[in-house]
């Protein structure tokens, strides 16, 4: 893992309010359609199917009737210290652009899948087979994202093409492309969520809503103590949900200041 967290002036971040998510999957559908992820006939098989965004069901592990349920949509965390970047032998994935999005360049990928092994969030997927759009389905491909090929790894890009579009628009209107107003660039999943569970913006920019949201006492990140410094935050008022986000010990309180491991 790289020693230092990479810092940028702009840091695109996502805050997912788990208490607002009802697990409908509209975000997953939008992500696939936006990013030309091929459909799969056996979608229920999670070992085989490839999703940039997956909605997981969480349980408070209590028996009926005290059982509670929650849903957790998981895109790529766009880590500040991305373990995938450190292990890629051909620099097919990197984090060096303003905004802090971890890039993925499929044609450069040699399919060694080290990054998949190193990603603690299982956010990376491998194309074991040729992607297929049966019948006329390829007619609905969007022009924004190249399709990938068998033998390469792919993952969520925070809809990077939308960032570029928003910047182009700003330039064409004579605005600063590095100071986009809140909402000028949002991801497809953010846009699709009917419950408004996902908020997107620049966490470094005080004019953006996410800037405040990440300071909430209810905000947390997944496996925070691994030190990957994710740019995706979650929120829940429920203690058990926050505990599910990391490997807390029985006697520990959720959200205790992180003790650095080693």
């Amino acid at each position: 893992m790289s020693a230092e967290t990479k810092e940028f002036k702009i840091k695109w971040g996502m805050v997912i309010d788990i208490d607002k998510c009802t697990g409908c999957g509209a975000c997953m559908v939008a992500c696939q359609a936006e990013n030309n992820v091929a459909p799969a006939a056996v979608g229920g098989n999670k070992l085989r199917s490839l999703n940039w965004l997956t909605v997981f069901r969480l349980s408070n592990r209590k028996p009926f009737p005290d059982h509670e349920v929650a849903y957790l949509p998981r895109p790529c965390m766009q880590c500040g210290k991305p373990s995938c970047v450190a292990v890629c032998p051909v620099i097919a994935t990197d984090k060096r652009e303003e905004g802090g999005i971890v890039s993925q360049i499929p044609p450069r990928c040699i399919g060694c899948r080290y990054c998949m092994a190193s990603c603690p969030y299982h956010a990376r997927y491998f194309n074991w087979y040729d992607p297929k759009w049966p019948g006329d389905l390829s007619q609905a491909l969007t022009p924004d994202v190249s399709t990938r090929m068998r033998g390469v790894v792919e993952k969520c890009s925070f809809c990077h093409h939308r960032f570029m579009k928003a910047q182009e628009l700003a330039v064409s209107q004579g605005r600063d492309p590095y100071d986009l107003p809140d909402g000028a660039y949002i991801t497809a999943c953010t846009e699709a969520c009917p419950n408004g569970a996902i908020t997107f913006g620049d966490v470094n920019n005080p004019k953006h809503k996410v800037h405040e949201l990440i300071k909430s006492p209810y905000a947390f990140r997944l496996l925070e103590r691994l030190g990957t410094d994710p740019q995706v935050y979650y929120m829940s008022k429920r203690e058990w949900v926050r505990r599910e986000g990391d490997n807390y010990l029985e006697n520990e309180k959720t959200g205790e200041p992180l003790k650095k491991l080693g």
């Binding site: 349920v69 006329d136 009917p194």
Partner: protein
């Protein structure tokens, strides 16, 4: 060869190999051939647009923006300017650009040959056949529509009426039993709910996933639950499974399937005990039979209700307290499946609304006007709603009624959506000639003589008139923002042309004219709706009805046997798996989870205690036998968010038609249920069933 010779040979060989291009070429080829792709899809380039349109396949008629590139739709996204959805979109509507070109989309008219195969025919031939068969049928014609919000129903029903038939039916939905309950209690027009303005909703219906105007419900949920700020609306969900609606609820009331009415009466009991009585009624009237209702509710003590429904006592009390605390509480009842529900749960929910003084109040129950007709001779909406399709098909199947010589099925898949004892299949087999007008090749198409490819909402003129569940009058046009796929044609135009051929005077010349007349009747600017896709909304000005409790029907319904401790089916609907008419959209197939389907088997969720009593563990095979004799092999999954004794299966699986995204996967929940009659109203009801379960 000696040792030195061998070493020389090996060294020379290695040097030779390294120097030769063989290794590098082989490596290159290995990389190339393992990653090369026989066919690389071309991305479209061209001008892009975002055009407001509506979904006609999403049951609540979700408005969205269609993103087109060089005229081809590539995405459907929420439309923030839409006054109903405020930018919300359902997972079904979100996959419509891909559904439009899905493998099961019908491209050409198809005629069934004697051996059962379907052959493509030309439209001219199809239309000739349509006219000949319709003309020859005389008054023996019937039609089924799966799209109650569309004005095309007026055209179809006017054709039927002109020929002397009244056999026009809607597919069973939530509104039919609700309307029966509403009118039986003195309601006039249509029943609506002002969900947006309520601050506490008790819902025995999946309001955040599939019930009512879902995209609108969820937009309201979004606004009432601002991120990082306190929420302004409470949601109490009552149902046997912790489904998606329960995930968004503040309180889950676990109840056995089919015990909604008892639960509602238990809450009514607590409300009356807390002093809510006739004095609280607003609008200057007191239902004469309050006392009678209070006597009935008095029987439903918490002990009795908890024993019958399985709800924990504290939660029942908490729910009543939340309703009493609220300024604008609202009670809603429906069915988990979206069809086959009874009227009694709605009567009980309306009774709660009456006790709380919520009829006609902001954030309460709304009285909406009936859909206005503009087509001459069309049947009244409420009149169609009042006659259940299943009663007709059962009568035809049993021979009590003659089979129609000509049967029209518009935008519906009754063969899949209705239980096997509905008589639907037999009606189709007995009918002289059946025509299915559909966008996707469904189980119903596979039984029809002629299959006609219909356009989607984004491909043709059509409309969405106030869907059930809305609290306001809403009106939206479906506009052709993209070209129809294949040879699909607008159903509305097809029916108007047929009417003209049959000399039926409709008083409208084409679909734009029909839409114009509707817009005119509502007093909304037609041109703006047509050109910009704006949506009309208005508060209802219908006069408030004088409501009374329907104690007799409630008593009758409550006399029905309760589910005991034997396993009972608890269906769950997720809109992402599509509707009966769409099946699973290709791009939603990956949202199917491993607790819904496992290989080709449906997954049955049950809690640990239920599994233990059946002697099964997580991942075991289970054979379910329903009361109607239908069987299903399922895989057990332990989930503590299910009532004891309830076995939860997701609906929308078990298709035998459509494409590889839905065919041959899992069990159809409806196939396990049978039709009974609701005591008191005699409405056909289904959706749950006793199950026998044995390890497989």
């Amino acid at each position: 060869m000696d040792r030195r010779g061998f070493l020389k040979f090996a060294a020379g060989g290695t040097a030779g190999l390294v120097a030769s291009p063989i290794i590098w070429n082989t490596l290159y080829d290995a990389v190339y051939w393992t990653q090369n792709w026989g066919w690389i899809p071309r991305l479209k380039k061209g001008a892009g647009e975002y055009l407001p349109a509506v979904s006609k396949i999403c049951p609540s008629g979700t408005g969205f923006l269609v993103r087109t590139v060089a005229g081809t739709p590539v995405r459907t996204i929420g439309d923030r300017n839409n006054p109903v959805t405020h930018g919300s979109i359902t997972s079904l509507a979100a996959s419509e650009a891909e559904l439009r070109v899905s493998p099961s989309r019908i491209k050409k008219p198809l005629l069934r040959s004697a051996d059962g195969a379907y052959n493509a025919i030309a439209w001219a031939e199809a239309e000739k056949l349509l006219k000949a068969k319709a003309a020859a049928a005389g008054k023996s014609v019937a039609a089924i529509s799966g799209d109650p919000t569309s004005c095309t129903n007026e055209v179809l029903s006017a054709i039927l009426r002109a020929k002397g038939s009244k056999d026009f039916y809607f597919m069973p939905d939530e509104e039919q039993p609700a309307l029966a309950a509403w009118t039986s209690m003195g309601g006039r027009g249509r029943l609506g709910y002002d969900i947006e303005n309520s601050d506490c909703i008790l819902a025995a219906a999946p309001v955040l996933e599939s019930w009512g105007v879902v995209a609108g419900n969820r937009a309201a949920f979004n606004r009432h639950h601002p991120v990082g700020a306190p929420s302004t609306q409470k949601l109490i969900y009552a149902g046997p499974v912790q489904n998606n609606t329960a995930a968004g609820a503040d309180l889950w009331l676990p109840i056995k399937p089919g015990t909604e009415t008892i639960l509602m009466l238990g809450i009514a009991h607590l409300l009356i005990k807390a002093g809510r009585n006739a004095a609280d009624f607003e609008h200057g009237y007191t239902p004469a039979n309050f006392k009678e209702f209070a006597d009935l509710a008095a029987e439903y003590t918490p002990e009795k209700v908890c024993a019958a429904t399985g709800v924990p006592a504290q939660r029942l009390e908490a729910a009543a307290a939340m309703l009493l605390d609220a300024k604008a509480p609202l009670a809603i009842a429906g069915s988990e499946l979206g069809s086959g529900g009874g009227a009694a749960p709605v009567m009980a929910a309306l009774s709660i609304n009456m006790l709380l003084g919520r009829i006609g109040s902001k954030g309460g129950v709304v009285c909406l006007p009936d859909h206005a007709n503009v087509v001459k001779g069309a049947m009244k909406y409420s009149e169609i709603m009042a006659r259940p399709l299943v009663s007709y098909t059962q009568d035809v199947a049993s021979g009590k009624k003659p089979a129609p010589a000509f049967l029209f099925i518009h935008a519906a898949n009754p063969v899949y959506a209705l239980p096997s004892d509905s008589g639907m299949k037999q009606t189709m087999q007995k009918a002289g000639f059946t025509v299915a007008v559909a966008s996707f090749f469904s189980e119903t198409c596979a039984e029809a003589d002629l299959v006609l490819p219909a356009t989607l909402g984004m491909e043709a003129f059509d409309d969405v008139q106030t869907p059930y569940g809305s609290g306001r009058i809403t009106y939206a046009f479906a506009r052709p923002v993209v070209k129809p796929f294949g040879e699909a044609r607008p159903a509305g135009e097809l029916y108007i042309a047929l009417a003209q051929e049959l000399d039926v005077q409709l008083g409208v010349k084409d679909m734009p004219d029909l839409l114009y007349q509707h817009a005119f009747a509502l007093g909304t600017p037609f041109r703006q709706m047509m050109e910009k896709g704006t949506v009309f909304t208005a508060d209802s000005a219908a006069p408030l009805p004088k409501m009374k409790f329907n104690v007799r029907s409630l008593k009758a319904a409550l006399s029905a046997a309760l589910p005991g401790d034997a396993p009972v089916l608890a269906p769950v609907v997720v809109l992402g798996l599509g509707t009966a008419a769409t099946s699973v959209p290709p791009f939603a197939a990956k949202t199917v989870t491993d607790y819904q389907i496992c290989g080709k088997y449906s997954v049955a969720q049950m809690n640990g205690a239920t599994a233990a009593s059946l002697g099964v563990r997580d991942g075991d095979g289970l054979r379910l036998t329903a009361e109607n004799g239908a069987t299903a092999e399922v895989i057990v999954s332990i989930f503590e968010g299910v009532m004891p004794s309830s076995i939860s299966l997701v609906a929308g699986l078990g298709h035998t038609a459509f494409d590889e995204f839905s065919r041959g996967k899992g069990t159809s929940v409806v196939s396990l249920t049978g039709i009974t009659r609701e005591p008191g109203t005699n409405l056909p009801v289904w959706g749950t069933a006793g199950l026998k379960a044995a390890r497989a």
